[in-house]
């Protein structure tokens, strides 16, 4: 069993998918010789050739638009968007074409496209390099949206996303790429892609997170434990569809919930999750579901990003407010 980073897990997962299915292609800016600016596609062009690992002209709409045509021809394109903030030039192709062609054709045409997006902040970058665009995609029927939070999930989830016959927006917490390592046991059976997971059990409050915030959530739960508060942490993993049965079960047990994400709170995933929890667990709730997230300002200059991003203290503050409600 090897210890791998998230970057390596994703790289190995894409490689596996390409080995298993000659129809899998990788497309994007600088994904070839350079292996992507984060090296997620490192070595793939060398081994699979320029026709399967395609450096594209600098045009995101072009990447997604040509991916649609390749998908219609039977290919399974895995498109890399270099940074979250650069997905917007491709937004039209994603929401009006990729998301709708299966529906438009009454199921005759499938769109097995994966859009890989390194997302979130905390890497000291300039503007447009730290966005969290997930809510906009989750609001779009026809797309599926997932976010991985650790190396092992990265390895399995990217393979499952590529195998999925629907378009998947695949969010990768970029600041975790080269951070923590984890043991990968390839002999285990991975959890299905569109499911959430309880990553820490607890009884006082349910803390929900995904992507980069899972680590923060775990640290918060640990810190709270030292104060005698027992927090259950759930990694949502799938944002569309949501898998909330485990969440409802948890909230019925704890009576309280906090949702955390880096995205702006206003109209963020937390709004949907909170609404559904409230609808499903109204009589179990002892306090309103609280949300912690990025403020409703554009992402700030990097010297203050750590203050802007929800951190352990802000999560704990919400936890305390919920418990004290």
């Amino acid at each position: 069993m090897a210890k791998i980073t998230l970057a390596k897990g994703l790289n190995a997962g894409i490689r596996k998918a390409m080995e298993n299915d000659p129809k899998v292609l990788v497309m994007g800016e600088d994904v070839g010789k350079l292996g992507g600016v984060f090296r997620i596609t490192d070595g793939l062009q060398k081994d699979f050739g320029e026709d399967r690992v395609i450096d594209s002209p600098l045009a995101e709409s072009g990447i997604l638009g040509t991916a649609v045509g390749m998908a219609m021809r039977g290919y399974r394109p895995v498109c890399e968007i270099q940074f979250d903030g650069f997905v917007y030039p491709a937004y039209d192709q994603i929401v009006s074409q990729v998301a709708k062609i299966h529906f438009r054709s009454q199921g005759k045409v499938t769109m097995p496209i994966v859009v890989r997006i390194p997302f979130g902040g905390g890497i000291g970058a300039v503007e447009h390099h730290s966005e969290s665009p997930e809510a906009q995609f989750a609001h779009t029927p026809g797309l599926k949206v997932v976010a991985c939070s650790n190396p092992v999930d990265g390895y399995w989830m990217i393979q499952q996303a590529i195998a999925c016959d629907d378009p998947v927006i695949f969010l990768e917490p970029k600041r975790q790429y080269h951070a923590d390592k984890a043991e990968l046991d390839e002999s285990t059976t991975p959890q299905p892609l569109f499911t959430s997971r309880v990553v820490r059990e607890g009884s006082d409050l349910t803390l929900l997170a995904y992507g980069p915030m899972v680590k923060t959530a775990m640290a918060s739960a640990e810190a709270a434990a030292t104060e005698g508060k027992s927090i259950e942490v759930i990694d949502l993993r799938t944002l569309s569809p949501l898998d909330l049965a485990p969440v409802f079960a948890s909230v019925r047990k704890t009576g309280r919930a906090v949702v955390a994400h880096e995205a702006h709170v206003n109209l963020g995933m937390g709004a949907e999750v909170a609404s559904r929890i409230t609808e499903a667990c109204f009589y179990s709730l002892e306090s309103p579901v609280l949300r912690v997230g990025g403020f409703d300002t554009p992402y700030p200059p990097s010297r203050i990003e750590e203050q802007w991003l929800p951190d352990l203290d802000r999560v704990l503050d919400a936890v305390d407010r919920s418990l004290a409600f």
Partner: protein, 386 residues
Amino acid sequence: MSEQSNFGPDLGEVFGPNHADGGPELVQLLTPEGERVEHPEFSFDLGDEAIKGFYRDMVLTRRIDTEATALQRHGELGIWAQLLGQEAAQIGSGRALRTQDFVFPTYREHGVAWCRDIDPLRLLGLFRGVDQGGWDPDDGNFGLYTIVIGAQTLHATGYAMGLQRDGVVGTGDQDRDAAVVAYFGDGASSQGDVNEAFIFAASYNAPVVFFCQNNQWAISEPIERQTRIPLYQRALGFGFPGVRVDGNDVLATYAVSQAALQRAREGQGPTLVEAYTYRMGAHTTTDDPTRYRLSEDLETWKLKDPIQRVKAYLTRNGLVDQAFFDEIETEAERLGEHLREGCRALPEPRVLDIFDYVYAEDTPELAEQKAGFAAYLDSFETTGAH
């Protein structure tokens, strides 16, 4: 205040006061009077039987269009995008296709659909509002109508890149080598997507023909708003050939399309074909062109009618007799009937079905939403609630 802009070139000057002739660059093989002419680069290499077939195609295509327009007037369609005047551009290019070629249409390619053996009834579904494209793109290699202007040109380029990867380009096997055609309009040429499609196609030398029907109008905006030089020259900026063909001349359109497709199939890359034509009808049945264009223009273009010139050629040269026309007329009548009856009989969509079309792999979430809605609908039947 004046209605004329103070800036910019006088666009009339750029194109000349009446540019209905398409200029000297125009490839023409059959004049509006029905006379065949030679062109140094392009020639029509099929016989008169083919021309008769084109004539039939164009007449029947026009019948589809007029029937659909009438159906809209009778409230059977919500809207209809007319092709009146563009029959030659569509039949000429559509008949140049081989079975293995693939087409990405806009919302107006009823004539190309005809060439791909799509039952015209299927075209009506979108405009009647019973579906959003009622055929399988893999039957007839004809993609679904695309409404977001220009989006399909990138799909076409990607599909062409797929053909390259499938090894069906430039093998020399005529039954195997394939190409893609992306149809789009003059207005569409301004969209980023179309220009990106040019860039990708050039970069990868993809086997795609960009077939622009320059019908002079994008709803109310004249071609001069989109470009100040002849549109076919756009290709020069991207490093592949562009050619302007008389889009009302079915022979020339066929010849030029055939050459462009052949280049693509042989692995020589993309071509831009500008079919110079005119939108004789309204943009759609909800449009009112009298608000923005002069009726004289329309009169000028009527003299260039794509069907009349073939008819003139056929009769003048004694290639057909009255029976030929009668037969086509009978066929057109049958087609009209087929459309009128078929349209009303098109199955209504069922609202519960649509939940099944969202994803290839169902989600429990949507299944639940569907079940909830089904129960809600049931409640009316059982209780007549509310």
